[in-house]
Symmetry: C2
Subunit: 150 residues, 2 copies
Amino acid sequence: MSELWFEDLSTGSVWTSTGRTLTEADVVAFCGVSGDFHPLHVDAEYAARSRFGARLVHGALVLSIATGQRGQLPFVGEAFVAFVEIRKWAMRRPVHIGDTVRTRTTVEEARATSDGVRGIVVQRVEVLNQHDEVVHDGEMVNVVRTRPGC
Amino acid sequence: MSELWFEDLSTGSVWTSTGRTLTEADVVAFCGVSGDFHPLHVDAEYAARSRFGARLVHGALVLSIATGQRGQLPFVGEAFVAFVEIRKWAMRRPVHIGDTVRTRTTVEEARATSDGVRGIVVQRVEVLNQHDEVVHDGEMVNVVRTRPGC
């Protein structure tokens, strides 16, 4: 299933996902899944009067979609053991219903562990909107397996 | 709507949410919302053969539910301006379908901004399971408004 394994990854490798338009349905579904029904997300009238001018897509939804979009990566299959840490995550710009986002990841660090069968991969993760603005960015830390039999 | 505003928050204030049982329905819904259909989350047979022994609840779903659970906080109403940053977030233990989680938050820092109408509140956020084990923890940074008219 995986096309790439730990030893195939090197620092500086960049990969960008396809885009996804954030719809009203995504926001409504995420309210139920997360339990976050803050009026900035669910009350169009309240949000219109706020500094944001319209309902906001939850920050945690944008982050969640970034985790889904990086699932297109060629090592996020069998090679992927676990997502273990977010080192930092900044929500730089508001994201609204109708915006289209894509996720760009860069391998910042790929360090073998002493057991020889896996490694730690730190990704720089940037979420870009349709204007090529970075709306969220941060670092995700993952455990990735080496090629079986190696 | 808000019971507490920025000036009511002080370092060390602790608050714990009610619990929520993580169901199969939550995991299935989150697959569609996030786009993360990794076999560890959707393939019961694959997950049974993995080191985790059973399907995992997505780390980003646990984090998302923590953001919903902190919505019960008395300042996460009108006083809440924006969730702007995750300083760090560690996924310390696997979370499975059937586990029940609650979120404990502690105000680590409450710093007024120069405009006098808002402040920065850093929360230590811990997600605990039914055995009182911390499964995830980290820090969230928020902008919180002062009481209107003050």
